[in-house]
């Protein structure tokens, strides 16, 4: 119970001030939710201020401007840093370099770093989990050698994302209570969808690539690229 903090929170909302953080219990959270809805239902209260829109426009222009300048960076250098650190990292690099190869080629085409779907032109479907093992709210990890990832179920449909951080190829782990994938190397975290949630890097890492998934006969499979020496 935190009656005083709750009252202050509601009071701040009513006065149009930024409310202060505290740790509400269930019922306090419900009251905050209702107060927010009441506040949002006020007539004409929710139009953005023109000054705010203009100011954000300036900030975005500055950001887009700096992004347009060519940044001298080499993925090869970054990869070299990782190679040879450990067997686990090496395995991760194998996966990330596939991701990178695909992403890089798409970046070259359209300057795009939205979540990409990994669609190797040659590859095969590999079993990653039994259907029964992938239920709501769970991110099930898998490692099939060339690809490391997580599979989950969204509205009944299986989805998979790469399990390798897009920054330096570290292997992610699933933090179930927070419902996010965390990188042990630079405390980057990703939503189950692959979008970046938090990072402390100078430049936001790209979202995790999604993987092609199919489900049949009680088995979930992911389409993985063929290894370089694969011939069949």
């Amino acid at each position: 119970m935190n009656t005083r903090a709750l009252r202050r929170y509601i009071d701040d909302l009513l006065r149009g001030r930024r409310p202060k953080p505290f740790r509400p219990d269930d019922f306090e959270a419900a009251q905050i939710r209702t107060a927010i809805e009441l506040q949002a239902a006020r007539q004409e209260s929710d139009a953005p201020r023109p000054e705010f829109l203009a100011d954000l426009h300036r900030r975005l222009a500055a950001q887009q401007d700096s992004a347009a300048r060519p940044a001298p960076k080499s993925n090869a250098t970054r990869r070299n840093v990782i190679v040879g650190t450990s067997a686990a990292a090496a395995a991760a690099v194998a996966a990330v370099s596939i991701d990178r190869a695909l992403i890089d080629s798409q970046v070259a085409e359209g300057g795009n770093s939205e979540p990409q779907e990994l669609t190797p032109s040659t590859g095969r479907w590999v079993r990653v989990a039994a259907s029964a093992d992938v239920t709501g709210g769970v991110m099930r990890p898998f490692d099939v050698g060339s690809v490391i990832g997580f599979v989950r179920r969204v509205d009944g449909k299986a989805e998979a994302v790469s399990g390798v951080c897009t920054h330096q190829g570290c292997r992610l782990w699933f933090d179930a209570p927070d419902d996010r994938l965390r990188c042990p190397c630079h405390s980057t975290s990703f939503a189950p969808t692959g979008l970046v949630v938090t990072h402390q890097l100078p430049i936001a890492p790209t979202p995790l690539p999604t993987l092609m998934v199919r489900e049949q006969g009680g088995v979930i499979e992911v389409f993985v690229p063929a290894p370089p020496n694969w011939s069949a």
């Binding site: 909302l13 959270a29 992004a67």
Partner: protein, 164 residues
């Protein structure tokens, strides 16, 4: 590429800033947080945005980014998710997608005793001060405060029941 995309990032911003802001405002209820989070959405989303994407894809992407930003905001400030931006069928810029608060609020207020409903209308919907509200209701300021707290507690109960 099909010609239904945006010519540049500025067009993306002009066309989508208002609904993104309103979507967030409806879920935080105050301008300061709504402005900060809206800025966060566009600063995160515009840089990697692919202009070959269709208008619908861009809007879906902005809504998904807003969902992530809002979820992080609640975890950081209150340690739990208070409101969320759901997956919906409607286009993100539609009124139904931006906010269902007016309909929900009308439903909740309609179930409250008269004096509870009136204090919430005065304080929240009309933005009146506690003093003005007390005068309007013919009670003392201290009574009006108590009334407001009790009314919000009951409204929250009604609201949560309607939810489940």
């Amino acid at each position: 590429m099909p010609g239904d995309g945006y010519p540049d990032w500025e067009a993306v911003y002009q066309d989508n800033a208002t609904w993104v802001y309103r979507t967030i405002y409806a879920r935080v209820g105050n301008r300061a947080d709504a402005e900060d989070l809206t800025a966060e959405v566009f600063l995160a989303a515009l840089r990697p945005l692919r202009l070959t994407a269709s208008v619908g894809e861009v809007r879906g992407y902005l809504r998904a980014t807003a969902r992530t930003v809002l979820a992080a905001h609640w975890r950081e400030t209150l340690g739990r998710e208070i409101t969320s931006i759901d997956d919906i069928e409607q286009p993100p810029e539609s009124e139904q997608a931006i906010s269902t608060a007016p309909q929900r609020v009308a439903g909740v207020l309609g179930q409250l005793p008269d004096n509870y409903r009136r204090i919430l209308e005065l304080r929240f919907l009309q933005g009146r001060s506690i003093k003005e509200s007390a005068a309007e209701l013919g009670v003392t300021v201290a009574n009006a405060k108590v009334l407001q707290h009790r009314a919000l507690r009951l409204a929250a109960q009604v609201n949560e029941e309607g939810e489940s």
